[in-house]
């Protein structure tokens, strides 16, 4: 195949993605250097680093950065560890295996807004929720999840959504595991744990890298769950960067500061991506 044809076939994707990346990003960079508040139109003079200063001294800034990272790391940990364990559990045939798999992956099909509403109301409501009822039946004080443990509540919702994705990928990967190798190990007297530790886990290293990478893309940008459930509160306890910037732009109408925040989010994503790709990149052959 000629090189020109290769280029021609790739051109639409490359050009579209280039435009999609460059146009909005350069606009964001421009907005971040001017005064741009929708409440005061026409006063768009150059302000240099002021918007960045404003954003980074916002009382919500530090909590938002740490919440973003805590949310990312906890959900990654929960989904990868439980995902590996559960997919190993349902790997061997048992009664109703297909049905169990369908049940396990179902939360992935639930949209984030519905996810948040179910958990916020029917599960975690301190008076009428299922959790409250369980606590009461056990004679315990019901917990007000969204006010007392707002970030943990969001972590539970997001993990519930992404655990099925990890299971989906790992289940597929396990199907390709060499059964002869496992049987040979069993013959040699390897216990189930040894087989899991020394055969299954290494076999899963590339799928784990894939899950970590794809989930990171989505987890850095968690928005709807917070928007619908805690609204970032109480205080800034469950505000992440995405939500803080949204707050600046659409609730305080300060486009300049929001743009500066947007650039900071891009920077943070790149730092995380840099470390992640270095950590898991050797397992990723494209």
């Amino acid at each position: 195949m000629k090189r020109s044809i290769t280029r021609l076939l790739m051109a639409p994707s490359v050009i579209l993605l280039l435009v999609w990346m460059i146009v909005p990003l350069s606009m964001t960079i421009y907005f971040s250097t001017i005064r741009f508040n929708l409440l005061y139109p026409g006063q768009n003079n150059f302000v240099g680093w002021m918007n960045f200063e404003f954003f980074m001294t916002d009382p919500g800034f530090l909590p938002a950065v740490s919440n973003t990272l805590i949310l990312l790391l906890s959900v990654l940990m929960i989904t990868v560890v439980l995902g590996v364990a559960l997919s190993a559990l349902i790997d061997k045939p048992f009664f109703g295996q297909g049905m169990v798999r369908v049940l396990l992956i179902s939360p992935f099909f639930i949209m984030p807004t519905v996810n948040a509403l179910i958990w916020k109301n029917m599960m975690m409501n301190p008076v009428y929720g299922v959790f409250a009822w369980i606590s009461q039946s056990l004679g315990l004080e019901p917990i007000d999840w969204l006010s007392d443990f707002p970030l943990m509540s969001v972590i539970i919702m997001v993990s519930w959504q992404w655990l099925p994705f990890a299971i989906l990928v790992f289940v597929t990967a396990l199907q390709s595991q060499d059964t002869e190798q496992k049987e040979a190990a069993q013959m040699d007297g390897a216990t189930g744990w040894h087989i899991f530790r020394y055969l299954t886990i290494p076999h899963l290293s590339r799928p784990i890298a894939v899950v970590v990478m794809i989930e990171t893309i989505f987890l850095l940008a968690v928005f709807a769950e917070i928007f619908v459930s805690t609204g970032g509160g109480p205080g800034y306890d469950s505000t992440n960067l995405a939500y803080l910037i949204y707050n600046q732009a659409l609730l305080q109408y300060d486009v300049g500061v929001a743009s500066a925040g947007g650039l900071f989010a891009v920077l943070l994503a790149n730092i995380v991506a840099f470390f992640l790709i270095r950590a898991v990149g050797k397992n990723l052959t494209v």
Partner: protein, 277 residues
């Protein structure tokens, strides 16, 4: 004493029951939402929760009447299927070119494409909002289709690339020897061979679009709002009415959940992202 066979059966029974228990626990919130949508508002908040009750369909009627479910469902279908279709048309040739004619730059290009997904949506929210406003595309399905297409294009290309790469090269060479043009090659050889991979790519893309909430919430109001945005409107005041909320949620999720159940075999087989040899 149990013999070896009995022992193995017992072990399968234990792990099987454990798997069932966890699966039921994880599925419980969905089950509960479904059940609650058939309750009256009083039954919905009764403690202890009522499991046996006379089901009613009133909630569904009220949801359709109040927020025009069918219009939003139509928006969801158009945006998710439309953008997936367009992204496939753009992505298949690119993935094909990179898989069958790799150069030294191929890996870099793929990583760059993925890195465009690392740009958090909030970082470009304001410009996209302003651009859509200036083009008169606020609250339009067109804007969502364009954004969803570009949003999922990198993942689509990556998945397709990993399928195409695993196709046996000999078949393609044979076709080329017979004088097939690249177009013939794609349509008559590559597509039929990778139909499984393409459909699971499309499935994932449709699911991601259907459940996309950030752009839907920020760029649409009433006309073009897909189901994700319709549901958000039930978050505050109506959030107190759990039965109606559940009915709306069930209606919003049912199409994609049922779709996902039917296609789960396909999805399970397809989701390796080239990670499995």
């Amino acid at each position: 004493m149990m013999n070896l066979n009995q022992q193995r059966k017992f072990k399968t029974f234990v792990t099987g029951s454990f798997a069932w228990l966890i699966a039921l626990l994880l599925f419980f919130p969905i089950f509960w939402m479904f059940i609650t949508s058939f309750k009256t508002e009083l039954q919905a908040i009764s403690i202890p929760p009522s499991l046996f009750f006379e089901p009613t369909l009133d909630n569904f009627a009220i949801v359709q009447e109040r927020s025009d479910y069918l219009k939003h469902a139509f928006n969801s279908v158009v945006t998710s299927f439309g953008s997936t279709f367009i992204a496939l048309i753009i992505g298949v040739p690119a993935a094909y070119a990179m898989a069958f004619n790799p150069t030294r730059k191929t890996k870099d290009i793929l990583l760059w494409m993925l890195s465009t997904k690392m740009l958090p949506a909030v970082g470009v929210l304001v410009p996209i909002y302003i651009l859509s406003r200036d083009f008169g595309l606020l609250d339009s399905r067109t804007a969502l289709v364009i954004i969803f297409t570009l949003m999922n294009l990198p993942i689509i290309i990556w998945m397709l690339f990993s399928y195409f790469k695993d196709l046996p090269k000999e078949i393609l060479e044979a076709a080329r020897m017979d004088g097939a043009t690249p177009w013939d090659e794609i349509v008559k050889v590559v597509l039929p061979l990778s139909i499984g991979g393409i459909s699971s790519t499309a499935l994932l893309s449709i699911i991601l679009c259907w459940n996309e909430a950030f752009w839907s919430l920020n760029l649409t109001a009433s006309e073009a709002a897909p189901l994700t945005a319709m549901i958000a409107s039930y978050s505050s005041p109506e959030g107190l009415f759990w039965a109606k909320l559940s009915a709306a949620s069930t209606l919003a999720c049912a199409p994609i959940v049922v779709f996902g159940w039917f296609c789960q075999k396909q999805l399970v087989q397809g989701l390796t992202f080239g990670a499995v040899k």
